[in-house]
């Protein structure tokens, strides 16, 4: 038991200091001397962003616990949810045939993606952050489907959490392809064929009046770690409720041939009482990135809005009786 804790403790120390420490494994270099991050990567994982309540005191899994945990989570995701009536059936019918959340915890064996704060949970909201969140929730409650603007960004085919940034694992297609050329790192995100082209030449950000869904990114290398600073978000992107003043710092370090340690720090004093940091391990994939033509096939939006309009009509008729 003690030895295991020591092993885990050492592992933690090593991983936590990943940004500063020189790894024993040295990544190869691209033609222009950048540490090589190229290839197709997946960040699918069953590890949640925040530490689950029933693991509150447990920062890491012991290696022996992992297999059982993974088995339990995967089985749960595939449980037979069919009910007696068709409506509930359609609503709940999705299982792993449709999802691809992954089957493994992160390689760090942490019980949450969040590494700081130490409790593995997003820090408290500021008063303004709470106000904003409440206003958004109220808006959603009153206007669930007046128009497309009321629906989520994924349903509108505008932005997926896999793109972010930060680039969070999601329901499926957690795939990325990284390309490097002199002075640039480009990350092609499968959903929704977003490409983050990150210049490395130290140029200034876009002017503050220019706002973008994926913000505006600038990168530089610190040793073998690519550090990317992103600003200029819109006030509609709202990562976990963030404001347009979000300042995001991401760090990419290739720790072995099949792993990139992806770490991000969220800094948004208008929303959270302190910055918070999460880590996801990205695993080399031997697959390809597919075209995700979301908007071109967006029958869902039409169905939802037409359905909402039909429901309104029905309840108006019912009320008129």
């Amino acid at each position: 038991m003690k030895l295991r804790c020591v092993v885990v403790g050492v592992l933690t120390a090593v991983m936590a200091a990943s940004t500063a420490a020189q790894k024993t494994w040295t990544p190869p270099r691209t033609a222009d001397g950048q540490p090589d991050l190229e290839g197709v990567w997946s960040n699918a994982t069953i590890t949640p962003l925040e530490r689950p309540a029933d693991l509150a005191a447990k920062a890491f899994f012991a290696p022996s616990e992992v297999a059982a945990y993974e088995k339990r989570v995967v089985e749960n995701a595939n449980v037979d949810r069919r009910r007696s009536d068709i409506t509930a059936d359609v609503g709940l019918a999705y299982n792993e045939a449709w999802w691809d959340r992954g089957t493994h915890v992160v390689k760090t064996l942490r019980t949450s993606l969040i590494v700081d704060p130490a409790d593995g949970k997003i820090p408290a909201l500021t008063a303004e952050g709470e106000r904003r969140a409440a206003a958004v929730a109220e808006q959603r409650r009153l206007h669930p489907a007046d128009g497309p603007e009321d629906r989520g960004l994924t349903e509108r085919c505008i932005l997926w959490p896999t793109a972010g940034p930060p680039m969070m694992p999601s329901a499926y297609n957690n795939n990325y392809q990284i390309f490097q050329g002199p002075g640039y790192v480009a990350i092609m995100v499968e959903m929704i064929h977003d490409v983050r082209i990150i210049p490395l030449d130290g140029r200034p950000h876009l002017p503050p009046n220019v706002r973008q869904w994926l913000g505006d990114s600038r990168g530089h290398w610190e040793g073998n770690t690519l550090v990317v600073e992103t600003t200029n978000f819109t006030n509609k992107t709202r990562f976990r409720g963030s404001s347009e003043d979000l300042h995001l710092t991401e760090r990419f370090t290739r720790t072995d041939p099949d792993t990139i340690l992806y770490e991000y720090t969220v800094n948004d004093p208008a929303t959270w009482t302190k910055p918070w940091t999460a880590q996801v391990t990205m695993t080399k994939s031997d697959s390809r990135v597919y075209e995700y033509a979301c908007h071109e096939g967006n029958y869902g939006m039409v169905g939802m809005l037409e359905g909402a309009r039909a429901e309104e009509k029905n309840s108006a008729k019912a009320g008129a009786k």
Binding site: L206, P207, N209, V210, R211, Q212, T234
Partner: protein
């Protein structure tokens, strides 16, 4: 100076791409076009929906990093209010909608090519858009005899830079589709400098004491159109706005 020896026909027909003209000046002859989004909005701007829903993405405003040095146009406060009102009402007010002459410097950064025909005494710039045109006088003819949309252009060389002083504007044109405007006090000074054989660096300093608190400057590269046999084509858009402007006067079919 002029040769009285008849040159062979081939020599007369060769389009010169040499760096200098026969009179020793930088050779600006050719067909040029900018690649910026300045015509939508001189200032940096994110992409945005357009004013016409049926046009969808075709009518949307593309993003631009901006071409204004210092990023912001120095409007007087009351003039800024006018610019905003212009923008809110741009479908009705932007002279480009009606195929009116674009003025200077907007003619330069319309998303269409223009051709420079350079002679020692005059430099002609012919714009594909609305066949707008202007003649740059290399010898100052005196004050403009009358105000006009394209102004009166007087040019001189400062080293290898063509400096063009434009005055005599009326107050009718806009600088872009975002409502940036001027009065008849407008004064523009342009600078054209070759940057390698196929690029022009273009700058324009704009002043109008009725609208801006101080002069301000835009700059952008202009690229040579290199396609084989490239030429300006006609974009006579007056015909395309007749329904918009005169459709209300169309005779209605008789009702039985």
């Amino acid at each position: 100076m002029l040769s009285l020896v008849a040159l062979p026909a081939a020599a007369q027909a060769t389009i010169s791409r040499g760096p200098r003209t026969a009179d020793g000046k930088p050779n600006l002859n050719g067909i040029w076009q900018v690649l910026t989004e300045a015509n939508w909005d001189l200032q940096g701007h994110a992409a945005a929906a357009g004013p016409m829903v049926p046009l969808g993405a075709i009518g949307a405003m593309p993003p631009g990093q901006g071409v204004v040095e210092g990023e912001e146009i120095p409007y007087k406060p009351e003039a800024l209010a006018t610019k905003k009102a212009n923008f809110a009402n741009r479908l009705k007010l932007d002279p480009e909608v009606k195929c009116y002459l674009p003025g200077v410097p907007r003619a330069t950064y319309m998303p269409f090519p223009f051709q420079i025909v350079q002679t020692p005494q005059f430099i002609l710039i012919s714009y594909e858009y609305a066949n707008a045109a202007r003649t740059i006088y290399m010898k100052d003819p005196g004050p403009a005899p009358v105000d006009s949309w394209m102004g009166q252009s007087v040019g001189h060389w400062e080293g290898d830079t063509l400096v063009v002083d434009v005055t005599g504007f009326n107050d009718q044109s806009w600088f872009d589709r975002a409502g940036d405007y001027h009065t008849d006090a407008l004064h523009v000074v342009e600078r054209y400098t070759l940057h390698g054989a196929d690029t022009l660096m273009y700058e324009a300093t704009i002043e109008d004491k009725n609208v801006f608190t101080k002069p301000w400057k835009i700059s952008m590269p202009v690229y040579r159109r290199l396609e084989k046999n490239v030429q300006l084509m006609e974009f006579k858009c007056v015909e395309f706005v007749e329904e918009l402007m005169y459709g209300q006067y169309r005779k209605k079919p008789a009702n039985p």
